[in-house]
Structure formats: C-alpha cells, structure tokens
C-alpha cells in the first residue's frame, strides 16, 4: 500500500475502487467512469486530489526562487493569483508541471504554494533547497504535502455549489485566482484552477479537516479514472506519460506548453531552451476513424512506417470516439494528416488534430 489520503476511510465506506498512483493509494472509480465523467461535463463532480504535492516557499527572496523553479513568470504574481508552469532540468527537459499560488493571506513576506504532481514532492523540495542555496537566496522551503489535503470541485455547476458552501464569494473569481474561505469552521484556500477544462475550484485545507471539506460538497464523487479521461479530452499533460525525464524526455515546446515558458526569467533550463522553440516533434491529438482503442506505447504509423508513439489514449466518454495524444515529427503533424495507430499488430486509421478534443468551457 502506498501513501494514503486522509479521505481513504470515507472512500472505502463509499465503495470506491482504489489504485496505486505516484506512490499513493487513491480512488480510481466510485460509480463508473462514464457516470462520473458526465457529471463533471454536465453538472458537477468532486475529486480527492490529496496525492498532489504542496510546497511552501516563503521569504524575502521567494519571488526570485519561484522564478528559478519553474518556467513561467510566477515571480510577478500578486497575492491571490496563480500560474501554471513547467519544471525543467538544465537540459530543458520537463521533470514536472506545476501550479504556483501566491497566497492571498501572506503576512510580511511573499508566500507561495507550489503544487508538484503526485510522488514528486520530495524531489521537488530537495531541488528547491538546492536551487535556493546555489543562488544564495533567502527563503524557507517546506514540504507540506502531508499537512494539506486538496479537493477539486469541477463542472458548470461547481462555482454555485462552492459559493453556497463557503462564506467566500467564489462565483465572481476569474480563472487562476485564489482566495481564503471558511468552509464551516475550516480555513481553506479556494483556487479557480483544475484539470478538467470545466469551471470549478480546487480547495486546499488542513489534512485533519479533509473529511469535513469533502462532505460539504454534495455532488458526484469521481475517481482518478475520470480525472484522466477529462484531462485527456482537453489535451492536458499527464506527468509520466506525456513527459518523463527517463522514459519520455521532452521540452515544454515539444509538449505544447510553450505558452507557459517565459524566457526572460532565470529558470533552470532556460539557456538550453534558447534554440528549442520550434522542435521537429510536437504533441498532437489523434482521432481514430476506425474501431479500436489507442493506448500508451502503441506505435503511430505513416505510410506503414513508425513515426511516433501514443502517450495517452482512451475512448472519449463525451465524444464516444477513440482519442489519443502522440508526439509526431513536422512532416506528419499538420491537422488533418492521415496516420494510423497500430493496435495489436493492425493499423487503425486516424487523423491528426489539435487538442482540445472537447471545447473548453472554463475560459
């Protein structure tokens, strides 16, 4: 068994099926991926995302440190703002992707919460300390992953549901904002961020209060299976699949998150990425036009020759069609290009497309 969410007992009582993910034992399914997926696209669903890491970075040089730790210009965030960025090594290869929140309730010094992916928290903490010390910066770095739980409430009806459950005015927040809010007697951070393409929030609360926060949202509980189909319909990256320093070393430009790279900031990997903004291979979407289910690792063929590999694939519950993400070279990645995915030895016809596969409604 891996690390356990503070909600593990509640999930077990609710009949959740669990899986190992990033070193954590987490619910993968409550009532079926289709039902859960539809709830989020049509109304609202909630996810336990306590497996996500949380790093506290606080101090006079905290803005300079967050600028070095990830690719976006998070150092310029005002209190109450959030930003998405990549985390790269000296080669410019993605180690992780992260959201940086500047706390709305910081006191004398700038204070941030960085959210690394599941299982990356220890490595991210060590790296932050290393980068801080190498640059001679003054900031405290603390791994708060097991002090803080996180619940995502996502879907078109999520803002109203969260607004009703809290004393804060959540419905008027723009995307990528974060505010303090009391949920009953629990002090929370409520951020208009997510991984589904829908409106909604992510709520950060003390570990011990997670059960109260979870119970406060009366809506469909959703597992990691649904989190995966939702993010895949949006073309969002999954750490370990679309990028991984060992098995899928990719730059942010290859992975399609060049929008989150600000090369005027001094992040680790900036110099290596100077000439890398227009790579040969890029992440694209595939829609299969014949029967078959694309899966991680399946070859992508053009004229019978292997030109790429599927990084993630499924049958989209919204479209009821097979979709995939894959890295393809320039010659084969224009939208509309005919390719094939090799499924158990047989080529299945597909067309290149630009994600998202399903229109985003959160902007």
């Amino acid at each position: 068994m891996g690390r356990a969410s503070p909600l593990a007992r509640a999930h077990e009582d609710r009949g959740a099926r669990v899986t190992e993910f990033g070193g954590w034992t987490m619910p993968v399914r409550f009532d079926g991926t289709r039902v859960e997926h539809e709830a989020v696209r049509e109304s609202v669903g909630k996810f336990d995302v306590s497996h996500m890491g949380e790093l506290r970075v606080t101090g006079p040089d905290a803005p300079a440190l967050v600028d070095r730790l990830q690719t976006n210009d998070a150092g310029t965030l005002a209190p109450g703002e959030a930003r998405y960025g990549g985390v790269t090594d000296e080669r410019g290869v993605l180690l992780d992707d992260t959201v940086v929140y500047r706390r709305p309730d910081e006191e004398d010094e700038p204070s941030y919460l960085l959210v690394p992916n599941a299982g990356h928290d220890e490595e991210a903490t060590a790296r932050a300390v290393r980068v801080r010390d190498a640059a001679g910066l003054t900031a405290d770095v603390e791994n708060a992953t097991e002090d803080l739980a996180m619940v995502a409430v996502q879907g078109p009806d999520a803002p109203a549901l969260v607004d009703d459950a809290t004393a804060a005015d959540v419905a008027t927040l723009d995307r990528f904002e974060v505010t303090t809010a009391k949920l009953g007697d629990v002090d929370c951070l409520v951020a208009t961020t997510g991984y589904t393409g829908e409106a909604g929030v992510e709520v950060v609360c003390p570990w011990d209060a997670a059960a109260r926060v979870w119970a406060a949202f009366d809506c469909q509980p959703c597992g990691l299976g649904t989190r995966d189909t939702l993010r895949l319909e949006m073309g969002y990256l999954l750490s370990g699949q679309e990028f991984d320093p060992e098995t899928e070393p990719r730059t942010p430009f290859e992975a399609g998150i060049g929008f989150a790279v600000d090369r005027s900031t001094p992040f680790v990997g900036r110099d290596a990425l100077a000439g890398a903004t227009d790579p040969d291979e890029r992440l694209v979407g595939l829609r299969l036009t014949e029967r078959g289910v694309p899966r991680h690792g399946y070859p992508v063929l053009a004229d019978g020759r292997e030109v790429g590999t599927v990084t993630s694939g499924t049958v989209s519950p919204t479209l009821d069609e097979p979709i995939a993400l894959a890295y393809l070279p320039r010659a084969h990645r224009d939208p509309g290009t005919a390719v094939a995915v090799e499924v158990r030895g047989d080529p299945v016809a597909a067309r290149v497309t630009r994600p998202p596969f399903v229109a985003r409604t959160d902007t």
Binding site: G32, G225, D228, R291, T314
Partner: protein, 123 residues
C-alpha cells in the same frame, strides 16, 4: 452477494461463462464486467475460426483496461454478437444476456468450474 452467477452455466477462472444448452454461448461474468468498468470495445473472431480451450479468442477493453478473452472449449466459432461492435456497453448492462460474445460448436469442453466454485474463487 454482490454478483450473480447462473447455476446452470460453467465458468473459466479467467471469468468467461459457457451455457449448458444450445445455442452454446460464451460471455464474461458479472464480476468481470464490474472489474473492467465501462466496456468501450470488443474484438471478436470470425465465424468458422477454430477455438482451443484456454487460448485467447478475443479482446474486451474498458476505458482503463485491456483484457483477453479465453475460450472455454475446443471447437469452432458459429456466430458472433455483432451488436457489441456498436453497443459494447451491453457487456456491462446484461453480461449473461445481450452481452454474450460468441456462439460455439463444441468438440470438447475445457476444465470448467461450477457457479459455486467460480464464486468461491472470485469473492
């Protein structure tokens, strides 16, 4: 008991069932469809293809998982359930009825479990 296993059918430890009477049909159990989750794809052999007990004859895929289907008998494929190509969710909705997969001509049955033996194994 959470799952249903018709007592007159026979079962493989790999979660396929075989009817006792003609037409001899093969499908997957209630337990298997629940383990898989939402079924989105079924790959079946062609009528006339030979079957060998214990060998894979097809594939069933859910949103998350890919599973082989194993033949409970030596024999031949008589008919396949083509409605599963458009409506794979029948495997979840009605695993012993409309979710059947193939009809078989049986030369020899493999080693199969009774409903009680199967239940004991999975629950």
């Amino acid at each position: 008991m959470r799952f249903d296993y018709p007592p007159e059918r026979r079962y493989r430890p790999t979660h396929e069932w075989l009817t006792a009477d003609e037409p001899r049909r093969v499908g997957v159990t209630d337990f298997a469809q629940d383990e898989l989750g939402d079924v989105v794809f079924v790959e079946l052999p062609d009528p006339g293809d030979p079957l060998t007990a214990g060998d894979a004859f097809g594939v069933v895929e859910s949103i998350k998982a890919v599973s082989d289907l194993y033949a409970p008998v030596d024999g031949e494929v008589a008919t396949i359930n083509e409605s599963l190509f458009d409506r794979p969710e029948l495997v979840n909705d009605d695993p012993y009825g409309e979710g059947w997969m193939i009809e078989v001509r049986v030369d020899a049955a493999g080693e199969l479990l009774s409903a009680d033996e199967y239940r004991e194994q999975v629950e």
